[in-house]
Symmetry: C2
Subunit: 149 residues, 2 copies
DNA sequence: CAATTAAGGACTATTTTAGTCCTATTTAAA
DNA sequence: TTTAAATAGGACTAAAATAGTCCTTAATTG
């Protein structure tokens, strides 16, 4: 299975709750209570999302977290890369060095294509789509040839 | 990073070598020599690919492995799921049980959409594309709405 | 100034993944 | 019919990645 860590899954749960009431400020403790995820873990995720600019935070009493942009503008690609790093399936897609080292390479340029295809797919889905479960979005066309420029 | 294990990466290397000479029978030892991947590891991967029907094998002396179908008909989705299991980013996409257990769910139906989108993307790339590195394929359109039926 | 809340980082435990090895089975050829 | 060359299957170990926790510091409000 191509996988994404549990933390990323938790992040979508947390962000979905926040998106449903997008102007509120949520404290970490509150999110832990609502989602059932342990507080230290929720905190960790929230901090990561702030660093990735998906969330904004305010410290001090009455502080907490809010969405940094409209749910329509927060893509699944952004959420996943916040928690998992750059979207890429293999090392060599990230650094060419790693690629050159391995023998038998020359194929791997194509992982790049695969990664781009997936990245585009993930950019086409937003947090707004996630909280609007059964809505049918407009058709999205992904011209693969555009990846080869 | 959304990731795929090293074994999957190795598998693409091995399969690419085989696709370039698609009617030959390759022994595991030969593949190890050509790719530089250790023999036990190569063997493990080849066995997995046979189980997934991506390769065919013949035992005994002069035995070895061959592609089970034309490179055009072996999709990247097939290769990845052979090594990683079903293509899905989260547990709950595979079993609904896992989904129901977690609190705060209801969002996760949408992971299903994301998984389908990725799966379609991976089905659109074949082994033939991998060995024809710089060719520009025809445009491929992925109508996301079709996933909602 | 006290209470509340986030930031940052270090650390541990758990789980997954990679990699190896052993034994059994099949086939071809001498 | 025996030997050599292959794959099949599974058990096991080691290494790496991930999840999860905790502690100390910093900021804000009343």
């Amino acid at each position: 299975m191509i996988r994404v860590g549990k933390l990323t899954d938790y992040a979508t749960v947390i962000l979905s709750v926040m998106a449903k009431d997008k102007n509120r400020v949520f404290a970490a403790m509150e999110m832990a209570a609502v989602t059932g995820i342990a507080l230290p873990t929720v905190s960790k995720i929230l901090k990561i999302l702030v660093n990735a600019k998906v969330l904004m935070s305010t410290r001090g009493s009455k502080g907490g977290y809010t969405l940094a942009s409209e749910p329509e503008n927060i893509t699944v690609a952004a959420i996943i890369s916040a928690l998992e790093g750059p979207i890429a399936l293999t090392e060599c897609s990230i650094s060419k060095q790693a690629c050159e080292q391995a023998s038998g390479c020359g194929i791997r340029a194509n992982w790049h294509l695969i990664n781009q295809t997936i990245h585009n797919a993930l950019e086409s889905v937003t947090l707004a789509d996630l909280v609007r479960p059964l809505a049918v979005p407009e058709e999205i066309y992904i011209p693969v040839a555009s990846l080869y420029q």
